[in-house]
Symmetry: D3
Subunit: 285 residues, 6 copies
């Protein structure tokens, strides 16, 4: 009998019961203030993943050796970030409650807040490692508290001082950099210098790991809404994410801000697929 | 002494005090459920207008014969449609209170609701003429009351039965068409048939006139988020908008849903500029 | 428990057992001699269909009233048209043997041959109705017998003289037009004139109905490899396909030659989705 | 022995000595005031022509039945329109002196002036038939006498009153339309109405026939720098160009303003190729 | 009262009287021999600048701390480079005469000549620092003396031997490299090696500093007409421009050759905006 | 007398008899399993080459100092890889038999097999140097032996163990890497490390040198069907290809996998043109 058309990220075809890691897409960009389009990130990377191999020459492992389940994308009400964050928190909570690892694919960066809330409920001592071109530390954006530009500040509201480590930052308002420098968070400009120290400082504490793909140089990753020249290379990102995944006690994570429409070559989506593949493999213990 | 860089829609350089008509842009697409990008409509059409002539060979008149002021774009908080609509209503109210005609350039179609609220306050017997490919008559969209897909229903909440005339409609859910047919509104599928009768029925009552540019066939206007094959031609649209502008008592209006990014040829933006030029000329008494 | 990610053409979610019509995609463009890309047609139209409504304002019916199953895309060996055609024939045969209607989405036009072979086995008196910009009647193309440019000639090899009716043709070599005129097939240039007579002539005999979407004018359907100016409108196509579907004894069909990459506006894919929706509804008895 | 790579417009492979018609490309857009790119028109249409058939189903004739030579593109000094026009005039004069018909492919519309000068030297009673969206009748453009926007005015300087017939015009400054109306030229807005009368009035006098492809609706021909909504269809253009070519004494001609870069679908270039094919066939006596 | 729509480069909103630095755009590409489009550079970078922050994490300073005025774009007659250069010279002279610093945004590289002429009138001992992929040292280009390909040679005509220092050069004809090597100018291939020595050699003499953005690698800056693989990185460019701005006596400058149309991702324009921001900050004493 | 339009790669205008090196294009991508389009590589790079200089600042030599002939593109039957390979082998054999060096421009990577067959007939001890992102070592691809994904395995069938050296590889199935590691070939992941040793090991034995341009990082070369992040730089590639060309006994070569359509900036084609220029110069003894 003919089968219905199932579409998962490549190599993520485990049964939910067996799965240790669970992918979910959050196609939301409703607070994006500049160029929207990250809503198409999850479906694009899933479709494009069929051009990828499951084997990683970087880690000499194969994604098919592990049990990952792709639970598809959330259906979300545009125009209401409050409800969107509730839906994300619910999905992440379900996955955590089932003893699995929630791996979110955004969407704009605000989506991180929903997943951090879920992880924070489980892990009150939650820390964050944050790769990004942008500080995302404004207290509000045109009066709005919930925005892609405020998301790390909202996470800080929850986690408190000295819990968040930023890397790769090269854009933001002066007060955001100042606020971080006042000891609220640890901010590394431009690159991953200091990552080893951060990992040592964090030790075995639970970590939420969020990767805004615009941390990459726009030459390698043009498919994003706010490209910032002077970013890190793909190779540096892979090295850094493997280091974090292997050394830290990562309890949940996300990869976000792929906006496929700005890259007609498709290579940004292909690259995001590789990041997800390497990330999923690196997270396996 | 060198002058600062002023950018207005071509031919709209009147002093505000002298102006009879006032343009304002609303770069918002925060509830767009499918492909976003209408936020760039107002600035794109303003920039592109410099490729236009001010003279209309259709009406044999010149935009420079009239006094139009371009008040630029509103700055809007993405992620909060309630506040966006308040800002629009405030701008339209200011213009109306100053005895001028508010001419809005969207943005997604939800923005119409803000301007209709302002016009309705002045004109309790307000009617609407609505050119669109879509019904926009859902009562909610994924639970949200404020959405591009519900905007005409929200206008109906305000205006009541038998006040709204739709033309060109060719897409919507079955219940939306049924609801209209039950006598709430007057809906013409596919084209402008019945426009003369509608104008006669409305007579001299105040009219809010909203043009969703996706009423046009996507062959002529690909630059929109939800292209619907089988639309009207530019020539038919110009004829219809001149008829409404000349014969009805239009008290406020808008042109919306230009999403320039989906049309690399730029012709959608150029066409929208012509629609605005013809519209501004036709509205002159 | 979270569900896996199923992706079907919108409204085609019936159980296979219940389904009367079965969709299948054939992502093949291996003999395309000019601009390739129709391999991405089936997946693109499936993904884009979520921007469509299931309700048809043309036929005032809803796709969800019927039982259609989407069996996904075939996996095909590029570089070997012989094996590709065998795979298509096998899929169509399975569907026909299960008493269902096979509805193929291409892919380049050569794919039609595989499905015609399956239908011909069941229906030795098979006729064809063919909408296209191109004759596709060459006997070989650079020495190859199996080609998008020879597919109707290969169908004629099977069906014989006076069985094939072409409409909308506006491109081909002089000998192709001559060959048709010698009485082998019935060829209508440019439009659908003579369709009523053809339907009358065919009567109740079994019909394979193939629509090459490039029969449409490239203004409405730019997303195809060989755009030919001077084509039919979407409205004319919908009228014609409803006429054939309602009046003829259609036993199998296909829609092909969507190449999404050549249309960054996405409207070609959206239009193809509407054609499929209207087609599926019209085929219901 | 291997042959070098010759590239001509399809079917234009006659020996120069035998040729009755001679193609030449003028890749110039140096006075284009808005969006440049017509410099790539000639090479693009030549390359794209290999996707065309040489057979015309419109005229039931084949380009290969005639003797046409493609002499390639002129090499031109950007930044110096005076020298560019001299080069064009020289090429057209050579072709005319050899008793052949010069068929120019632009480039921006200014190039027409060079060829008109050559034709006027041979035919002092030269008339012009001009298909265009734009009047091109300004006396100067920002002080410059030689411009795409003044080209027909410069031709009028040469030919005098009542010699030029414009069709399809839908854009220009008010004074341009007025100047034409004062009896200098005969201007038909929007379409080809009055073409039969014009052909009758011109009778057997020598005609330079210039087609600015932006006379077409931008839906069918987006690949041009200044798209003007509300144009003619491809079918109407073909009919009109066949009428002129067959009935008038055309002594030289051009097709211009293809800017391929604005049309990623490639259909504008394909359409231009068909216009050239139909034009070359229609010009044969 | 509503205000008219002013559009300046972000953070450049000083009153002209107070301003120390004055931006002006020169939207000219009339001698571009290959792919045009730099005419859209100034307006694109101005519009895109609203996606930028005014704060520089590189220099830890904020553009809003300084007084910069944006005087908009010159209106220029295409097809007449002589008059274009006169207009540029006039604008630069006005700014210099008012005791301010002229900061030009091109346009193609020929525009530099106009500003150099103005600076040379004030500073007869003018030197030049030139970042570029191309030599631009031809004596003529197809017989034309004024061309993007000759501009540095024309500057040399004015300034004389040993005054011009080129960096990053990786494309040109053999005679151009030879001519430079004969002692006319100092040419560094591929990168910024030798910049420190050049700055030392120049000392406090007046410097015109011109940056052709195609000195960057096309991977980081695809939005230019003649991309040359093997270029410098954004980070290297920022470091070099800060060094020159801080250490040399720069009296006028320009940034040119952004052609936004070749980069649909928009990142080239965003990068150009950052270069302008960093440049304006670095120039402050 | 006017000349016909000849189009060759820039600087490759020698008479065939005099030529030492002969270019030929193979516009084939018929087995490409993911995104097609390399069929347009040869014609695109030839056309784009006119934006290149013939002088190499890397090698301080000029292509016009050598005798290279461009024999144009093969005409190939899509859908039949067997015949395509025969046609390639025939062309390469002709060139070799005439005592010249065959320089092929692809097309997809499978085309290499045809040229390797020709070279192997002349040089039974043929070795290969292979720059690529992909292993291309599958034994079959969906059951097909002839595929872009199997081409190096097919070459190994011919040449045997220890003859093939791969560099830059970063994508493939696990068994492909294993198979290479078992001693069949020498595979260097990610970069050109070990190239000097390989050249030493090969010594003066005849070498077929194949460059799949996707060995480059997609940031520098997005115009290819399967972009793989983490590639080599243009500068590294130029250095490596000069090293091989100068030190090894290269008897035939190819450059392949340019798919221009995926790079609207055109820089991939420009880069490929530079690679060909540098390659042709480096191959001169």
């Amino acid at each position: 009998m003919l089968k219905t058309n199932i579409q998962t990220f490549i190599g993520c075809e485990a049964d939910y019961r067996d799965a240790t890691h669970v992918l979910y897409g959050v196609p939301f960009d409703g607070t994006t203030s500049y160029r929207p389009g990250t809503r198409f990130g999850p479906s694009a990377v899933r479709a494009e993943s069929f051009g990828l191999e499951t084997y990683s020459p970087y880690q000499d492992k194969d994604l098919t050796d592990y049990a990952v389940f792709d639970s598809g994308d959330l259906e979300l009400p545009f125009g209401n970030p409050v409800r969107v964050l509730e839906a994300i928190e619910a999905r992440a909570t379900t996955i955590l409650d089932d003893g699995k690892f929630p791996f979110m694919v955004g969407g704009e960066h605000l989506v991180t807040l929903g997943a951090v809330r879920a992880a924070f409920k489980k892990h009150p001592d939650l820390h964050m490692i944050h790769f990004d071109a942008h500080t995302d530390l404004r207290d509000d954006y045109l009066g709005e508290k919930l925005s892609h530009a405020t998301v790390l500040r909202r996470c800080h509201d929850l986690l408190g001082d000295q819990k968040i480590y930023h890397f790769g930052i090269r854009s933001g308002d002066r007060p955001e950099f100042k606020w971080a420098d006042e000891g609220h968070t640890t901010l590394q400009k431009f690159n991953f210098d200091g990552l080893a120290q951060a990992l040592q400082a964090i030790g075995n504490k639970p970590v939420y790991f969020t990767i805004d793909l615009d941390v990459l140089d726009p030459s390698e990753f043009p498919g994003t809404g706010t490209p910032e020249a002077g970013g890190v290379t793909f190779t540096a990102l892979i090295d850094a994410l493997i280091a974090v995944s292997k050394q830290a006690n990562v309890v949940a994570c996300d990869v976000n801000e792929l906006a496929p429409i700005y890259d007609p070559s498709g290579r940004s989506t292909a690259l995001a697929g590789k990041v997800i593949r390497e990330f999923l493999i690196a997270l396996q213990k």
